[in-house]
């Protein structure tokens, strides 16, 4: 019988590659029996859902370029245009 530690590892790994069928079945059985691992998987999905969203478009609360960085970039672009 698979333990919760192994289950947590496979809940991550199955997001990166297909598990061998024996491990896949053992994980399915473990999840059927273990409410805590089902909860863990749901939380992992929630965290990664945030990451996918943030990866596509960062939060408007993320920092902006500083005035100094902005000026340096504009100067460098001006030199490039000449």
């Amino acid at each position: 019988m698979m333990n919760c530690r192994e289950s947590e590892r496979l809940l991550s790994e199955r997001r990166d590659h297909a598990l061998p069928w024996k491990k896949h079945l053992a994980l399915r059985l473990h999840l059927f029996l273990c409410v805590l691992c089902r909860g863990y998987d749901a939380q992992l999905s929630a965290v990664l859902g945030v990451c996918h969203r943030a990866g596509a478009e960062a939060s408007s609360h993320a920092p902006s370029l500083s005035a100094e960085q902005r000026r340096a970039i504009q100067d460098a672009m001006e030199r490039e245009r000449r």
Binding site: R9, D16, Y40, V50, C51, A54, S59, A62, S66
Partner: protein
């Protein structure tokens, strides 16, 4: 999508920094976690785009085109500045402890779009990301922010697929645990 006809003039670059600078900077900062480096990568991106402006055919928006250039700059940076994989990134080097919780906060069910735009959540999220070891953070970023396949990430970072899976598992577990403590659990306490 229609492409820009050959005779169409190239886009006006004079307002690029104003229009796209912050979006590019935020994209880079989320992935490299260093303000100076993120600024340098944005500058390199604009300069490369100016040099290659004739290559822009209008099949995508200017923003998408610039982000594509920046994405390659970040990957090049990772390739050129490989970091040593720590023993804690390798299998069987660290006793995995159980990570699941007895009673989850209702905050876990909030939509990703709401969480990303919640100022306090964003502060907790970026702080938790900063706490990941550098190798794990890079692997996690390429996988979860950019959605690259594991095989490609292994090549970029110079690690075996098995070690990559371990790094990703540790990063995901640490990030989940950190957010549980600093955001979700805090919400549960606030709500009694």
């Amino acid at each position: 999508m229609a492409t820009r006809p050959e005779h169409t003039p190239p886009p006006d670059t004079s307002r690029w920094v104003e229009e796209h600078g912050d979006a590019l900077y935020r994209y880079a900062l989320l992935r490299v976690n260093n303000a100076d480096l993120a600024g340098d990568l944005v500058q390199d991106t604009f300069l490369s785009a100016l040099k290659g402006i004739e290559g822009f055919r209008g099949g995508s928006t200017v923003r998408t085109w610039l982000i594509g250039i920046l994405k390659h700059k970040i990957i090049d940076y990772y390739r050129r500045n490989r970091i040593e994989i720590l023993s804690s990134d390798l299998p069987s080097s660290e006793e995995e402890h159980l990570d699941h919780v007895e009673q989850a906060s209702a905050r876990w069910s909030e939509a990703p779009s709401q969480l990303v735009e919640n100022r306090e959540f964003w502060a907790a999220f970026t702080s938790c990301l900063s706490g990941l070891p550098e190798a794990q953070r890079r692997a996690f970023s390429l996988r979860e922010f950019d959605g690259l396949p594991g095989e490609e990430i292994s090549k970029i970072l110079g690690v075996t697929p098995t070690n990559l899976w371990v790094m990703l598992h540790r990063a995901r577990a640490k990030l989940r645990r950190c957010l549980e403590l600093n955001w979700f659990e805090a919400g549960r306490k606030d709500n009694g």
